[in-house]
Amino acid sequence: MELELVMTAVGNVFEPETFITMIVGVVLGVLIGALPGLTATMGVALLLPLTFGMAPLPGLLVLISVFFGAIYGGSIPAILLKTPGTPAAAVTVIDGYELTKQGLGGRAMSISIVSAVFGGLFSTTVLILVAPQLAQVALRFNSPEYFALALFGLSIIISLSSTASLSKGIMVGLFGILISMIGVDPIIGVARFTFGNINLLGGLSFIPILIGIFAFAQVLVMIEELFMGKRSDPPMKIKSVFPRLSDLNRCKWTMLRSATFGSLMGAMPGVGADISAYISYNEERRWSKHRENMGNGEIAGVAAPETANSATAGGSFIPLLTLGIPGDAVTAVILGALVMQGVRPGPALFTEQRELLYSIFSGMIVSNLLLLVVAFIGLRFFIKILSIKKEFLIPAVVVLCVIGAFAINNNIFDVWVMLIMGFIWYAVGKFGFPQSPLIIALILGPMAEREFRRSLVLSNGSYSIFWESPIVVVLVTLAMITLFMPVLKPIFLKIFKPAKPASNGGQDNE
């Protein structure tokens, strides 16, 4: 009986209207994700009205397809142009662009497709199998735990910075936290550092800053290189569109680990694909066999964030479908779509509307498979972008930066933010100040502050709310270890490594 239901549900997905709209959704999603300035949220919000005219299932599935497509799409310019198309791809830039510089961009792109699809499928499977249970676990995360998570995330700044530029990385991170406080105080509601400017009242928009420090600054670098006479990067050889088996093998544990982290983090309301990409990348630097190479064009450094962010996309459906809670802005829109179609997420969905639920599950799987096909077909085309003469590419990219920054809130102020930040980072980047810590800080800084202060309001000032929770203790300890590692490591080595090599080759206590 149940099996019949499942079969019908799966069959619904392959109805022509549904299937074709899903293909359109995936393609649109990839394009939207690939344009810096257009995010998954915008893509889904823009398609929302179109779904009213459709039946519930195709309408929902087109939004889901756009979501998965966009999360993948952000990696395309990240790898090829050092510019993340969506915030979730900001980490992919690190190793992805390095690989492009080495002429290996094609392999990076291949792996990123496989990673994204794997992440999406893995998280959907998790969703199907253990969604309700996982949702209950996710509910154990309250303000103190989110603060600890944010702190842990911020400590990543330390490990992402090489020893040489450690203090500069920290400075950038601190700068990011500081400017993220411009706007309205989350707990008291007073305006902070706004100088009476209405545009600052909402705080500095995140996307324009992202576009500025990655895309616009990169444009300035490209112009400089053009004038210096440096022509182009080593040509990219693509023998076959498909990833090499050796690459897949190299990344298999990375993908599994990152998919797990990503799914778990997606289940937590408030943690988005961008945060999970950073955390997974960081964890890979901790556990992976290839960690030394990360940052220098390591293929696993592309696999980790791409798997994680797609897994988080899938994982964010866990709280959405089981509890009716949107995990992030995109799922908030999808929740709106569900609600307008009269679908009530929550236990009711799991008991009374099983056919629809199974159709949604099947749809999620099918859209990931469609993404696989679409992305591989598009791969050669994407890489062609690189062969456009830089002189032509540059002004077009600038126009896109400007419009992209403007489009967020139809506000020209954001464009100025984008330009100013771009100039600053062009200059400052030359002195060794990195970009990634700024992004991490802008995302996690506000979270850290408000969760910390809210925890204290909840406990009426008692700090015990923090160490009463085992999750908090664990995360804070990990954060502290990461934070002090650069200081502790040399001390450890001195203590544990004997001065003269011993007969058993010494011990490595890391």
Partner: protein
Amino acid sequence: MKKAISAVLAATLLLAACTTPGGGGGGAAFPSSTINLTVAFGAGGGTDLTARAFQAAGSQYFNDQPITVSNVTGGGGATWYSQGHLQDADGYEVTVVTVEIVTLPLLQDVPFTPDDYRYVVMMNFPAAAITVHADSPWYTLQDLLDEAAENPSQIRVGNSGVNAIWDLHTHALSQAAGVSFNHIPYEGAAPAVVALMAGEIDAVAVSAAEVSTQVLDGTFRLLAVAASERLDSFPDVPTHGELGLDVPNIGGWRGLALPAGASDEVVAEFEARAAQVIASQEFNDIMSGADLTVNFLGSADFTAYVQEQQAFFADMIEELGLRE
């Protein structure tokens, strides 16, 4: 070289001419062009959904002109409300207005006041409500209030933001009942609802619609609503008034407004058509599917209501010293 430059300029002007929007072409009867609704809050939220319901049902009553919805968020609504009244007042640039148009100027220094807009129709009035977890020991609002009286500032009531409408409801309730709560701010109604689910807080002060899923499946218990009569969707839940509390109807109402410069004719024309949309089956179906009530007020009543709200909130905010 010169030829090339003139070629570019010519092509540019040609392109410009082709793309000039027909916008409100002088003389053509209203509506003869796209109607643009702008929502000051994020996509997927209650205000946004109300606007989209209007969009879905509305075209046929507006000479089949397309209706668009865009979101310009920030500052709790302040970012758009400062710009909305500066748009063309020809009836094509519509602001989806909410109670924040009244409360924000009273709470902070913002470059707009409710007088910068003309109020055309109200669409929806989600009344505030007090909700607790089903596992809690409070079965009536009085239970909660008694506990609050015994433990001042201990009962944790979550809201969607400091001095946002649901928080103001908590203040109004605490004033009327003579108790004090511990107000816990979240970044919107959804995180507050999650917090209640997780047991981090004791109650939430958001609208009934925002907790309806959980109330219906038994996770939450709705104690009271701040409306003049019981809600159709929850007929067993008493109003504050019935419980003897002097809490007026507080809610995050939503409506449509035009810049203050709009002419009486445009407002009247818009109102007539919008009223048809709001009365339509399609609009009502979408709204009820989304758990949103339809509460219509025409331009005159709406304008009067806004003024009432201004007076009411001005008093409350002054008494409580909420202005920063």
